[in-house]
């Protein structure tokens, strides 16, 4: 409770003081992502204010996506540090995140036959947070990929599984998009929240298409970087 500050001598509304002090504690690192916040009643009793005021402060913080209320569990800080990735090297997200010191998992959610290949849907997590929902159409090395899936218990490295001969070019196309239905649900974000939609085409050295992918990355705590070193 120490991080909540309400000074009754000030003219500023109590709910605003409360919201600002919690935000400050998040910014200063006193409160971290996932930390539990006290119930309205506890805050109201402690500061001798109305429960409505305490709720108003939480409403404001929730609207700004700084906290999250989970039914039956309580209120938690939601603050993930922004990760900045170089856009140029967006060819293997798993390696990129690992280099930055995050754990990275790719879980297979769906597999289907399509014309001349295989269709997969995967969900990627970095340090346990869902970061991407991806759809893949694989046109080459399908057998190698299926073997990898069988042996790796549903979690696998896409590129390592399919690369058996030198890669050629890779095209990534970054398109602004607002999250809709399934993507929002999978990424655990509100519909209409901004997301990165990235369409990728990977070719082998003879310029034959190996795979295409459509990836939705959460924009909540991810940024890309372009330019000189």
């Amino acid at each position: 409770m120490l991080f909540i500050k309400i000074d009754k001598r000030l003219r500023k509304p109590y709910y605003q003081q409360m919201a600002e002090s919690i935000e400050q504690a998040i910014t200063d690192g006193v409160l971290k992502d996932g930390d539990y916040l006290p119930k309205y009643k506890e805050v109201a009793d402690f500061f001798d204010i109305s429960i409505i005021v305490a709720r108003q402060a939480y409403d404001e913080l929730e609207a700004r996506a700084l906290i999250e209320r989970i039914q039956g569990k309580g209120t938690f800080v939601k603050h993930r540090p922004v990760i900045t990735l170089p856009l140029e090297s967006l060819y293997d997200t798993a390696s990129m995140f690992k280099k930055l010191g995050y754990t990275y998992d790719r879980a297979l959610r769906m597999i289907d036959d399509v014309d001349e290949g295989l269709y997969l849907r995967t969900i990627d997590t970095a340090d346990g947070y869902v970061i991407a929902h991806q759809k893949w159409w694989i046109y080459q090395h399908v057998d190698a990929l299926l073997d990898a899936i069988k042996t790796q218990d549903g979690t696998f490295e896409m590129l390592e599984s399919i690369v058996s001969k030198p890669l050629g070019r890779l095209e990534n196309k970054l398109i602004p998009r607002s999250a809709t239905g399934v993507d929002a649900m999978v990424l655990g974000i509100q519909e209409k929240t901004p997301v990165y939609f990235i369409r990728s085409f990977m070719y082998d050295i003879d310029d034959a298409l190996i795979l295409k992918a459509e990836s939705i990355f959460t924009a909540e705590y991810l940024k890309f970087e372009v330019g000189h070193d």
């Binding site: 050629g168 602004p176 372009v226």
Partner: protein
């Protein structure tokens, strides 16, 4: 088929509501440039809407650059992807020219500021003064990019005699100081733009945009400009990676 719904309680006109929803469909559908957009008569029938109203909405999308109209059909228009190389080194004018479209801009505002906005994390220099120029860039008269640029005021010689409405700033720097663009360093994120910017870019008011926070340096690596750039959904970036043929283990 496109699902369209009108909310009669909304203040926004029925035409605007349809235009907003069609733009969303345009962006979210996987239709490529040149593919046929669903026939407006069929869409009107399926959604029990007035055909003429829907036809008007389609023509608005043509006017705003989302669709093309030829013979009896409407086709999807998307910009060619902007190569990553271009956003590293070129001016916005050159980037649009490289897409083989006609660039133009209007200057919306010219202001003076004592400091750079906090988004740049720049140190505060007492006595410093910046010129902020807000511009809207068009490609073939379609509004594409909303740019707020910030320059050190002393970079403009003979300040009062300059016509900021028309001035091509980087060309001016090159002609006056022999300083040309070395590179842009940019962070890219996708944000929900303020409604006023979305309106200027002819987008649905709650649409997402690409935002670049950019720092431009000259050929010697010295800072030449800062900018906050919002680009419409019609604009997208292509990052082409040429992998070394021997790169097999990624």
């Amino acid at each position: 088929m496109i699902k369209l719904e009108l909310d009669h309680r909304m203040k926004r006109s029925m035409l605007d509501q349809l235009v907003d929803q069609l733009k969303k469909y345009h962006v979210e559908s996987r239709l490529e440039s040149g593919e046929t957009f669903p026939d407006y008569q069929a869409v009107a029938t399926a959604n029990a809407l007035d055909e003429l109203l829907l036809e008007d909405a389609y023509y608005r999308l043509v006017k705003e650059g989302y669709l093309r109209h030829s013979k009896d059909r409407f086709t999807v228009f998307r910009l060619p992807f902007v190569p990553l190389e271009s956003i590293r080194t070129k001016t916005m004018y050159e980037t649009i020219e490289a897409l083989q479209m006609a660039p133009s801009f209007v200057t919306l505002r010219v202001e003076f500021l004592p400091n750079l906005p906090s988004i740049f994390n720049a140190a505060i220099h007492p006595g410093a003064s910046y010129v902020k120029i807000t511009r809207l860039y068009f490609a073939d008269q379609i509004p594409l990019v909303y740019i707020e640029s910030f320059y050190d005021k002393p970079l403009f010689k003979g300040f009062d005699s300059l016509d900021f409405m028309q001035l091509k700033v980087f060309k001016y720097f090159q002609d006056t100081w022999q300083r040309r663009i070395g590179s842009h360093h940019q962070t890219i994120d996708i944000v929900q733009a303020p409604a006023a910017i979305n309106e200027t870019l002819n987008q649905p008011l709650d649409a997402s945009v690409i935002r670049f926070v950019s720092e431009t340096t000259d050929q010697h690596g010295d800072i030449l400009a800062h900018a906050i750039i919002h680009t419409s959904m019609l604009y997208a970036i292509e990052s082409v990676n040429l992998l070394h043929p021997e790169t097999t283990a990624l």
